[in-house]
Subunit: 153 residues, 2 copies
DNA sequence: GCTGAAATCCTCTCGGG
DNA sequence: CCCGAGAGGATTTCAGC
């Protein structure tokens, strides 16, 4: 698939907001029959445009109300050290997002936990155990103003 | 629903990783028949534990490869000003996440765009048009180390 | 709350334009 | 690329335990 046409884009826009829409429903809004929509979705999945389908949960209801943003700078910046940091971060299930950044801060982390106590314990027993961390700054989310997984395109 | 039992939790853990799993598949792994799994999922949706089901797209393939983290501090902090900021941010489709923070930084924003030029234009023509912004600092994502919507529970 | 069966709807395939 | 039809499954409901 070299390029997506407008129909593909429309399908992606629908599915990134509601992946439970049936092919028939989508077909109806696009004035098509089910088969081409079905085939297109399958192609979009196969080619990686759609990475996965997930349920988004309510973090407060499931008992993980605390979100922290953590800014980390490494002490040493050789390739080996950065790769090792990557690996170690991926082991930490509490980390939802981790980005390697350009600039004076090396990494942004988004961490989700059940309480502030748990955060304290997380920093103490897990994050600070990772070698090579120079600076570590934590910020706490007071309120989620906006949170979507959809892209604007 | 006052409290979730272990079966509910297992269902949520499965669905937040793959919402396309059929009730039958889930029922098999939990050694149940399809009906109770079906009923539980419906209850979990109705009660808000499951907020929505979405397709996660590949941002590079759909042409939105640039992610920026933006830290914003307001000049004035009255209630009215904060609410107004919330409202104005929600209008900006390029903003995927916005958190009101505790500490010297007031807001974290995650912004997704097609290019650095588009980011420049976004700041110039949209973000900086919002009243009351005091400090605005941008960071760019070099590499996404980890990005999941699943919670660890 | 669970099971099993039955009805309905959707998914998925395929012949044809 | 699309349509339409048909077989096989999944969803959804419900009586019974």
């Amino acid at each position: 698939m070299e390029k997506l046409d407008e129909t593909d884009l429309k399908i992606l826009r629908i599915l990134q907001h509601d992946s439970k829409k049936t092919t028939k429903e989508i077909a109806d809004t696009l004035h098509l029959s089910a088969s081409p929509v079905y085939e297109r979705i399958r192609r979009l999945e196969k080619k990686g445009y759609i990475k996965r389908n997930v349920a988004l949960l309510d973090k407060k209801l499931i008992g993980r109300p605390i979100t922290a943003i953590c800014m980390v700078s490494l002490r040493y910046h050789n390739e080996g050290f950065i790769d090792k940091f990557d690996q170690q971060i991926k082991e930490l299930k509490e980390v939802q997002e981790c980005y390697h950044m350009a600039g004076k801060v090396d990494f942004f982390l988004k961490i989700n936990l059940e309480s502030l106590d748990a955060y304290h314990e997380f920093i103490r027993s897990k994050l600070s155990k990772i070698d090579n961390i120079g600076v570590l700054e934590s910020y706490f989310v007071l309120k989620e103003i906006l949170h979507t997984t959809a892209y604007y395109f």
